[in-house]
């Protein structure tokens, strides 16, 4: 169910981008995979993140696999962060989403530079990316609540609790 909701969120984001400024549209294509990594089990979360990443690739002229690669990396970040932060609460999750949105933009830039070359940072674009990260952070708690309902509706186990804060040597995966 969360996968289907993620695909719908992708399409909604793409449609909103056609009607509203880029900086004002939250990155739903980023938030749903994060929510999946948080709410689902590790394997299901990983697969949902990867599939939604490929979905984002289809709605973009980016390199095929670029978004999927980033979503997989972000899945690992989420799994690592679960043990250290209380991501289930709105404010920590919003802050985490803000950081991940910026990291995602930086990761995209790095992949473009690596595979296509000639990437030049555009100051106006940078401002829009920061604003969009803020919009993403603002929408994050709502998306998490929605994802939780969808996952619960689909019969998934969504009882996410903060895990052992001090267990720093626990494997990420």
């Amino acid at each position: 169910m969360l996968l289907a909701a993620g695909v719908i969120a992708l399409a909604v984001e793409s449609a909103l981008l056609a009607n509203f400024p880029f900086a004002l549209v939250p990155a739903l294509s980023l938030l749903f995979p994060i929510a999946a990594a948080l709410l689902l089990g590790p394997l299901a979360g990983l697969l949902v993140s990867a599939v939604l990443g490929f979905g984002a690739d289809m709605l973009s002229s980016a390199l095929l696999g670029q978004h999927a690669f980033l979503r997989i990396a972000e899945f690992a970040l989420v799994r690592a962060a679960i043990g250290q932060f209380d991501l289930v609460r709105p404010v920590p999750f919003a802050l985490f989403a803000f950081a991940i949105a910026l990291a995602d933009a930086a990761g995209s830039a790095a992949l473009i530079q690596f595979f296509l070359g000639g990437f030049a940072a555009d100051p106006r674009g940078l401002g829009a990316i920061v604003l969009r990260a803020l919009a993403t952070a603002a929408a994050a708690p709502l998306v998490l609540a929605l994802a939780r309902r969808v996952a619960a509706w689909g019969g998934g186990d969504v009882d996410v609790r903060r895990e052992m804060r001090l267990e720093t040597k626990r494997p990420v995966l």
Binding site: L43, L59, S60, L64, G65
Partner: protein
């Protein structure tokens, strides 16, 4: 043994997915240099599935916009404007074709041949979605193979060239915009006939590369498609030169150009329902794959 595999299952799948996405990126990067790869069908199914959702999202937004434009602001002007814009596209492009031909030789026979060459049908399409990446520029259109829109067909608007169809499903298609960092178009300066290549920068501006020897390029010059690459018909308006970067001793110089189309305001575009010779060759014998990697539109070697 079974317990061991259960423990390493997740890291194994993680590593496999990382490798898979990396291979896809390498394959797509090669496609950008002319070697095409087709995406697997489940991914094209995602594109097809997203089209009705995007239409549904667009519907209320458009409804409010149309209501405002037609009933509150100026009654009936919006509708009339839509029809006139469609006629204007054809008239403008025909005009450019004729001007092109006249500038070249003044030979009426050639003018007639060019007109015939441009007599491709136009299919109007609504913009239903935009690229979800901040670094790439593409549009999702509500017309696909069922409407005759195929990969490799040029997309135009009343302002000029918009881009090229790079993926299609039965009812939707994806268009790589002229300003995308992977887009390139063979161009000619309308005034001086200097040839070059216009490339997208991914930021909304264009870069025009041209051989300096004998070339006369100035700010304010109009850039048109030259038709050299066999991808776009000749004479479509691309943009206007904003500034020329003359580097002493360099063989190839560049100029900054502004596109003639406002990509942020596009609502309705038109697909030219005929592929150029290069695109016909590229897609020959393959049918029209549901999703095609972006071809090198300039036909670079």
């Amino acid at each position: 043994m079974g317990d061991f595999f259960r423990r390493i299952r997740l890291p194994l799948i993680f590593a496999a997915l990382v490798l898979l996405t990396t291979f896809f990126m390498i394959g797509d990067q090669r496609a950008a240099r002319g070697e095409r790869v087709n995406a697997p069908w489940p991914l094209s199914a995602l594109l097809e599935a997203s089209a009705p959702i995007q239409r549904a999202v667009r519907w209320p937004i458009e409804h409010v916009r149309v209501s405002w434009a037609e009933y509150i602001a100026l009654v009936d002007v919006g509708r009339e404007n839509g029809a006139l814009r469609a006629r204007l596209v054809t008239a403008l492009e025909e005009n450019l074709q004729l001007r092109e031909a006249l500038v070249e030789s003044g030979n009426l026979e050639r003018v007639a041949a060019m007109r015939r060459g441009f007599e491709a049908d136009l299919m109007p399409a609504r913009v239903i979605g935009q690229d979800v990446s901040p670094y790439f520029r593409s549009l999702l259109l509500d017309r696909g193979r069922e409407s005759g829109v195929l990969s490799g067909m040029p997309i135009v608007a009343d302002g000029g060239l918009v881009g090229l169809v790079t993926a299609t499903t039965p009812s939707a298609s994806r268009t790589m915009l002229l300003v995308d960092r992977r887009a390139a178009v063979d161009a000619v300066v309308e005034r001086s006939r200097a040839l070059g290549i216009v490339r997208g920068t991914g930021t909304g501006a264009l870069e025009f590369s041209f051989l300096m020897r004998g070339a006369d390029v100035q700010a304010g010059d109009a850039l048109l498609t030259s038709g050299v690459g066999g991808v776009y018909p000749k004479g479509l308006r691309i943009g206007t030169v904003v500034s020329v970067n003359a580097q002493k001793g360099a063989l190839v110089h560049t100029a900054r150009a502004a596109p003639s189309v406002d990509f942020g305001e596009l609502e309705i575009v038109f697909a030219l329902l005929e592929r150029g010779p290069s695109m016909r060759l590229l897609y020959e014998g393959e049918g029209d794959a549901a999703t095609d990697a972006a071809p090198d539109v300039a036909g670079a070697p």
